[in-house]
């Protein structure tokens, strides 16, 4: 069915020096039209200076069910933050 164009994920860079951030998705038969649709849909008010489009099917995502084993090990590791360390008062900036 020709109506079933592929789904593309759109990433917009708001200004030079910032990251591309996921904005949403568009339907398009190819990359060129995906970019045009992304431009029409997500940058009507100067929201970006650069666009990425990626076929949604090409994105590999972690399983939300695995979130525990993937991300919990980062818990309780206060020593990874600078505030964990006590410094002598005489050290003003470090």
């Amino acid at each position: 069915m020709s109506d079933n164009w592929n789904l593309w994920e759109v990433f917009v860079r708001p200004r030079r020096g910032l990251d591309h951030v996921h904005a949403g998705s568009v339907h398009a038969p190819d990359a060129e039209i995906a970019l045009q649709h992304a431009r029409d849909l997500f940058t009507r008010r100067g929201e970006g200076v650069s666009l990425w489009v990626v076929r949604s099917a090409d994105i590999v995502a972690s399983d939300p069910g695995d979130a525990g084993e993937l991300f919990d090990p980062a818990d309780g590791k206060d020593y990874r933050y600078p505030t964990h360390y006590e410094l002598p008062d005489e050290v003003a900036n470090m």
């Binding site: 069915m1 020709s2 109506d3 079933n4 164009w5 789904l7 949403g24 998705s25 568009v26 339907h27 398009a28 038969p29 190819d30 039209i33 029409d40 849909l41 009507r44 008010r45 995502a61 399983d63 939300p64």
Partner: protein, 318 residues
């Protein structure tokens, strides 16, 4: 005895909702939650794109280039809002093609308000001021809706929507400061749109089919009647300010409640319009289906072009 797997998933879902966090498309969710969301987001998306028609009617006859540019930008925004929302609905596992088919065959609805005609320029003012005002009242709490993609689409939409209401009110202000005939035209538009706008919030809480569950799931944050009251309280002083009269003899400030009391909308009319018997239902659907059918060749040509380019690239590579 260990809890069955399904109970664990349900517990996790309940915990996320209770903690006011967001459910994301890959998370497990109850089938009813998914269905309810698809229905609501789809109806919202359909309303955005059908909503282009009553205002599209005035694009070629806007009274100045400035008004024309504004109206064009607004109608274009409505198309964009429809696309954001279709995208959000699709994350729940339904396709764009299925969604449009559900609209075109009347199995999914759009907002009742877009089945009313726009006979004068003042209707552009009334729609922006009242209809978009009501939509904003509805949509601001949806920015905190429990389903992530819907909430994020609503944030984007609300940001863009804020000029829609202002431009409409500005049209009303201009007409009210104009000739006697222009002010009368503004008053007549308010008379036409007031009651259908109040109906936009849906049936009273006692009769609303979907309200309670949606509140439980934090899809909705306020009931239909609460939102209706909020809108009336915000809008009546604006009408007073520009010297227009809200067409409701029962409207009166209630000091005790700290709210306006107002009359009951004609719920039979809402039922009739939702069931398909409004002044413009047939025209709106015919225009929508016509646009879809007339655009078929463009979609087909785009696919043919993409296939040709892909084949040529493969040939060169070989």
């Amino acid at each position: 005895m260990p809890a069955p797997a399904s109970e664990t998933r349900q517990n996790r879902f309940d915990r996320v909702i209770a903690a006011d966090q967001r459910i994301e498309p890959d998370d497990w969710m109850p089938e009813d939650y998914r269905k309810n969301l698809i229905r609501q987001i789809a109806q919202h998306a359909h309303s955005e794109i059908i909503g282009m028609q009553p205002e599209g009617n005035w694009l070629t006859r806007a009274p100045s280039l400035r008004r024309k540019s504004i109206l064009l930008a607004k109608v274009q925004d409505e198309a964009g809002h429809g696309l954001y929302l279709y995208g959000a609905a699709e994350t729940l596992g339904i396709t764009r093609h299925e969604l449009l088919d559900l609209l075109h065959t009347g199995r999914q609805k759009y907002a009742n308000i877009f089945n009313y005609p726009t006979p004068t320029w003042a209707d552009m003012g009334a729609i922006g001021w009242l209809v978009d005002g009501a939509a904003i009242t509805n949509q601001i709490p949806l920015c905190r809706c429990s389903f992530g993609p819907y909430a994020r689409a609503m944030v984007r939409i609300c940001k863009e929507e804020s000029f829609h209401q202002r431009q409409g009110f500005e049209i009303m202000v201009t007409l009210c400061n104009g000739t006697v005939e222009q002010k009368a035209m503004a008053q007549e538009a308010l008379n036409r749109w007031w009651w259908p706008t109040l109906m936009m919030f849906g049936p009273p809480d006692t009769e609303s089919a979907h309200s309670q569950k949606s509140m439980q799931w934090k899809i909705k944050r306020f009931t239909n009647d609460e939102l209706r009251q909020k809108f009336v309280d915000a809008t009546v002083p604006q009408a007073d300010l520009i010297g227009l009269t809200v067409p409701d003899p029962e409207l009166a400030w209630n000091d005790e409640r700290g709210h306006y009391d107002f009359g009951e909308p004609d719920w039979d009319e809402l039922r009739r319009v939702v069931a398909g018997d409004g002044p413009c239902n047939a025209e709106r659907m015919a225009t929508r289906k016509g646009a879809h059918d007339d655009g078929a060749w463009v979609r087909e040509a785009a696919v043919a072009h993409a296939e040709k380019v892909a084949a040529r690239t493969a040939e060169i590579a070989a």
